[in-house]
Structures are given as C-alpha cells and as structure tokens.
Subunit: 336 residues, 2 copies
C-alpha cells in the first residue's frame, strides 16, 4: 500500500425526494500503490451538478447509478502526485471523472491532461469544461440557433444557463432569462447582458409573463427546468421553434413524477421540435467550442460565475444547494 489515504464522499442511502445530509457518508479508504502505467492524482477542484441526482436513484439511465457504499463520481481537476505512467508525469494537471474524493488512482483511461499555465484550473470544470460545452452544443446544435432568434433561457443565471444567455447574445439574438432571486436578475441584466429577465417567484403564470416578454413568440427555449416553465414556453413558441431539453430540475426530487405539460399538443400546429441531449454525444464540436470560447474569454466578451464551496466534507451541502434555486449563481464547485 502507498500509505496514502483517499478521503471520499460515498452514497450511503438513496434519497426519497430532496437529498439530505444523511444520504452521504464521509469515509477514508487506503489507496493502493500505483502499478506500472498508473498514477495518483490529488484533486484540486470537484464539480457538483444536477444530473448527479439521477445517478443517486436506482435503475437504468444513461449513466449507471451510484453504488451504495461507493464513492460518488463527477468531474474533477487535480495534479499528479506519483506516477508510473510517462504520459502523466508528476506535477501535470488532469481532468477526470473521479470527483467527490481527495485522491485517486488511474491508468490514464479517459483522463485528459490540461494546460494550467494560463488558465485557472477551475475553468476546466466550468466555462471551458462540460458546462460551457453543454451550453454551446445545446444552443447551436440542438437549438439550431439563428441570428435574430428570440431566445428564452430558464435557470438563466445557473451554470449552463448563464453561458447560454451570453452565447445567444453574441450570436445577435434577443434573450430573456428567468431566475429565482433579485440578485440573479440583476446579474443577468448587468453582467450577462440579457435583454430582459424575470424572477419566477414574482409570477404565478409563467405563460402570460412570457407573453409579455415575447410578444412575437419564442424561437428557441433552452429548458433547464421543465414544469411550468416548459408549459409556458410551449404556449409562446413560434412556428418551427426549438425546445432544447437540457434538464428538468423542477422534477428531479419528485418521488412521484408530476404530470407533463397539458398543452403539449400545441407542438404539432406550431411544428415545434423538442429534443433531449447529452453533451458527451457532441465531442466532434469540442475543437470549435474551445476556439470560440477561448476567443470570447480573451476578448472579454463572456463572463462567468463560480459558486465555490471550500472543503471536500462540504461537497454534499454544495450539491444539495443546487436544488434551491434562490441560492447559488453560476457553476457550483468544491475547492479542496
């Protein structure tokens, strides 16, 4: 054994409804000595994302469920501490999927080396990582965004939404976002540069609020939320509009799924396309994404927020806060 210990957050029990602290356990396990071709990584940043709620459930989905008594997984960036793999020398920085722990061992499979010389490490989990890529691929590929489109974004100040809003603005669109606090609305208008934003706590009727904001209708709805936002958007879609189904966080913690939109039939007459997607299917876009995004960052054309929680032991808290739409802005990260 390496005498090293991996401190990790394991799934202790599957949540019924909203995840609670007792669904997680903090455990220390010995880390094996690296074999030939292996190396040990010390995580610096780990990502917490809403999709992980799906992996806490039993049953098949597009990713395997987390095992009870096993460390949870997720995006992470770290530094190589010990190495018996010449492609990943000590001191190099890597992006992997072994989050929710401080150290881990790898044979290099599906691990990407990143250049931390001019980019803050956390960016590989946010603006330049899965989050940025989700926004980019969803909006441009699935949403088939066109210049001048009317774009509605829900959870607009969130990790993905905040980037979607700005890419749409950069592409010459009119953008309206919804979010859950006055602070978020101000951020959207002042920093993300959206045309209009509304606090969904201030409306009991998302459909009519959207009608006020989009008198000519919506061309692209980037849905992170589902529920009344989705139904309201369907009411206001223009002919040939596109609904990008990225997430439906409003239902992730339902023990019994809520009914879907009663106005779904309207997608026929309006010839709307609704399409679900997962970012990993869009790897072919990565090079173009990185070129565009680095350009926008270098030119100061895009901004992003990170909500940072300190300490591995606080990762469950950071994760649970994702489901309280009033609290955090931008990409939720845990700094180790």
């Amino acid at each position: 054994m390496s005498h090293r210990i991996s401190r990790q957050i394991q799934l202790k029990s599957r949540p019924a409804g909203m995840p609670e602290p007792d669904n997680f356990q903090f455990v220390e396990v010995p880390l094996p000595e690296p074999a030939e071709g292996e190396f040990i990584v010390e995580n610096k940043w780990i990502s917490v994302d809403p999709y992980m709620r799906g992996r806490m459930k039993e049953g098949a989905s597009y990713v395997e469920p987390f095992g009870i008594g096993e460390a949870m997984e997720g995006g992470c960036v770290g530094v190589v501490l010990e190495s018996r793999n010449e492609k990943f020398p000590v001191g190099c920085h890597v992006l992997g999927n072994s989050g929710w722990r401080d150290t881990w061992i790898s044979d290099g499979e599906r691990i990407v080396q990143v250049d931390a010389s001019s980019t803050p490490l956390s960016c590989f989990l946010s603006i330049l990582g899965m989050t940025g890529m989700t926004a980019y691929a969803g909006l441009l590929e699935i949403g088939e965004l066109k210049d001048g489109d009317n774009v509605f974004v829900s959870a607009a100040s969130g990790a993905v939404g905040s980037i979607v809003c700005q890419i749409a603005k950069l592409k010459g669109c009119r953008v309206v976002g919804s979010a859950g606090s006055r602070e978020k609305i101000e951020w959207l208008k002042e920093y993300a540069g959206v045309d209009e934003a509304f606090n969904y706590h201030d409306t009991s009727d998302v459909s009519s609020t959207l009608k006020d904001h989009f008198p000519d209708g919506i061309d692209v709805y980037f849905d992170n939320v589902g529920g009344d936002h989705l139904a309201g958007a369907i009411d206001n879609m223009r002919d040939f509009g596109r609904i990008v189904c990225c997430g439906m966080i409003s239902g992730y913690n339902d023990e019994k799924p809520k009914p879907g939109p009663a106005n779904l039939f309207k997608i026929i007459g309006k010839r709307v396309k609704m399409q679900g997607f997962i970012v990993r299917d869009h790897e072919s876009l990565r090079e173009k994404f990185l070129t565009d995004m680095n350009h926008w960052i270098d030119e100061g054309m895009i901004t992003w927020e990170e909500s940072v929680t300190e300490g591995l032991e606080n990762a469950p808290e950071a994760f649970m806060a994702l489901f309280n739409g009033d609290k955090k802005m931008g990409k939720a990260l845990v700094k180790l």
Copy 2:
C-alpha cells in the same frame, strides 16, 4: 345568379367536448354566376379529418377557425360543371379545399387539376392525397426512418397510420401497431403486414404492453393519439429515438386539456427528438412521394381502406365517427 344552389354543411355552434349533430346545419345558398376566370365545381368526394376539430374551436391555430354560419372547409375532388377559365375546362377534375358542400365557385387559386383517367377520384383524398403524403413526409422526414428501425404506430389502422405501417414495412422495419377493435387488429396483420398489433382496449398499461412488443425499444413512434400511448412510447424509446407528432386525437375533444406525460424528462437521457409537423410544409417532397406511391400501388405493394359515407347530409356523422376509435378503418370519405 346562376340559378344554381349550393347545398352545404355550416358550423352552427362550437362544440363543447365531443361534436354533436346540433353543432352543424344543412343550408342551401344560391351560387353566384361565374365571372370571367371563374368556374363551378360539383364535388364528388369530400374528406373528413380529425384536424377539422381544431378549426371548430375559437382562437388562433395554424389554420383559421371555421366561422359560425359559414360552410366548413376541407379536401374535396370534383368535376368542373361550368367554366369561364380556360385552364379549367368543363369536365376536368379538380382537387380543392371546398369540401362540406356539393357545388362551389373558384377562380382557380390553389386548385389542382387531377388526371382521373386511370386513378379512382377518391384516391386523390386518400392514398395519393394529403393522407398518404402525411404518412410519407412524417415517417421519412420527421421520423428520419432508417432500415431496420423498430417502429410503433398508434391509430395504426386509421387513414394515416395504415399507410405509415406499410411504408415502414417496405423500408425494412419491424412494425407494431395499436388499434381499437379485433377487426382492425386482424386487418393490420393480414393486409398491412405489420409484425404485431394490439388492441388498446385489452391493456390497462400501454407502457408494459409496448415493453413486451419491443424488448429492444422503439426507434420511431408515429403518434396519432397522444395520452397514454405517448407516455408508454416515451418509456420504451431507444436512445436517439424520434417521436413524430402527427396528431393527439385522444385530447381533441377535451374541454380542459389533460395533463401531459409525467415521464417527459426521459427524452433528455434518451436524447429523443419529438417533433410536430404539418404536411403542407413538405411540398418539396411531393414529386418523390407520387413517384414512390404510384410505384408501390402499381406493384401491389401497398393497400388502403376507405370508409365511405354516402350523401352530403351525412358528412357530420362521418366526421363524428372519427372520434370513436372502434368504428372506421382507413380514410373517412363522403361520397356525393
């Protein structure tokens, strides 16, 4: 005046729920003398279609609502009786949208001449008309049908569904259809050549019935029905499946729309595309459609049913029967 009378079915009142005989009125109105460039048509066949239920409602949709006290509209084929337009001489056959009446006057706008020498007139409203074209465009364009796909069709013995099933079989797919009577199930298996068919009255759980019929999941669901068929299909869609939203007849007569599928969120993880369409947007396919369809007809590779009601005065009855899924098979037509 021409001394001619147009006998027509007008919308008398808007239905609340299921249309009733009292929502229609049979009226005789004088037909004006044709001006220069105009001609008079005598209808031979008129089409009744579920989408007309939408036009009986107030409020904007993709087609204008029918006016109270005005003749209803819809597909029709007839013969020119009198003409002051040399492009449409007496005796020629035309396809138009002035159904629900015996005679009408036109200036030729949006009227198509058809060759009745070798094709029964009714075909221009069924297999070679809007119905066939809806099946063809929906399945191939919106459904992006591929060889070997697993295809589920609801209302599979209906006007559009029965053609969808057969095109999918011709394209090398495995096809399962649902319908509402034993007679229809037999027709689907014996004449349409589907692999399997089930009577939805025999199941209280469409989702698990579909799981039995599609152990490997569904690639394309051609939805004519909505409701539990749509939810059941979503449960059983394969990754990257396509749902062709052609109609949701289960909800057309609801005074208050029913909730949508509670499992809609599954389209994200499965990367499903759901897309509404209207056949008139796919005119660019017409030539290819006619070539293919005439070939399939000539070779005896496709069959179709017409449920014929005799007499204009019985058109409302023929229309109302569309919403009783147990009754009629194939394309509903009224013969004058």
